[in-house]
């Protein structure tokens, strides 16, 4: 699945400058607890979260996440966006709630990040 499809499904705003149609993603996870995201330290492509602070981008970076989606209309500041750009991480913002955002992407074929 392309990131452009994800953006469309979530009616998201893109906060960084990548060509979304050129980025493939397969797996995702959703959480506001970065500790839990790190606990399942398997490769995941998309992180959905309602938490907005620089540690979200750093957590994403540690796990090779290609795209962070901020749900519930959260607004990341310029410093966070710049950090994401530095680390080649796409940032999308949507007004969807976490459950709905995850549900829509799951239905569209995005898989949970799992071991093995």
């Amino acid at each position: 699945m392309k990131l452009s499809e994800i953006s469309e499904i979530l009616n998201a705003r893109q906060m960084t400058d990548e060509d979304l149609a050129s980025i493939d993603v397969r797996t995702a996870c959703g959480s506001d607890m970065m500790s839990d995201v790190l606990a399942a330290g398997v490769k995941k492509d998309v992180l959905l979260t309602g938490l907005v602070n620089p540690q979200v981008v750093k957590t994403a970076d540690m796990l090779d996440v290609s795209c962070v989606v901020f749900v519930r209309d959260k607004k990341p500041d310029g410093a966070l966006i710049n950090l994401a750009k530095e680390r080649d991480i796409v940032v999308l913002c949507t007004s969807e709630k976490m459950f709905e955002a995850c549900g829509k992407l799951y239905s569209a074929g995005l898989k949970p990040a799992k071991e093995g």
Binding site: L38, M62, R87
Partner: protein, 149 residues
């Protein structure tokens, strides 16, 4: 912040100072190590393990221990991380190793950490982990991740 030494034994040595109470800056050392390991061609799986373990450790140092310093040695066989702080020490290591046990304040939980997963995560993602701690003196955490031949 960082000193790099490459000596004759193919060992890369990296040293970082973790600033106290600077939550926004926490994770810079781990991020730097991740970039260096990628640059020298270490496999992504090994890098992810090192990055997660070190990042959790770095966050802990900021949350609990007023910062500290980190030494990372990279040899062809393994990556060794030593995280030293002069924080409060861990009174009950066995308890601290239990998933979900946390002494972090709510302010830290609001930032997405303090779920009581830090030390268990570090143990899960490393091949060895040793905790030397003394209440009122500090904690030294030594972790290694093997590089498969």
């Amino acid at each position: 912040m960082r000193d790099v030494n490459e000596n004759a034994q193919d060992i890369l040595h990296l040293h970082y100072v973790v600033e106290p109470d600077n939550f926004a800056a926490a994770g810079e050392a781990s991020s730097n190590v991740k970039r260096i390991l990628k640059h020298i061609g270490v496999s992504p799986d090994v890098i992810r393990k090192v990055a997660i373990a070190m990042y959790e450790g770095e966050i802990n140092m900021v949350i609990h221990a007023r910062g500290g310093d980190i030494d990372v040695d990279v040899s062809p066989e393994m990556i060794r991380m030593v995280l030293r702080d002069q924080g409060p020490g861990i009174p009950d290591v066995e308890k601290a190793m239990q998933e979900g046990y946390s002494t972090a304040p709510d302010s830290v939980r609001d930032l997405g950490f303090g779920a009581g997963m830090g030390l268990p995560n570090m143990k899960n993602y490393t091949d060895t982990m040793q905790i030397d701690t003394e209440v009122g003196v500090g904690t030294t955490l030594t972790m290694t991740v093997n590089i498969p031949a």
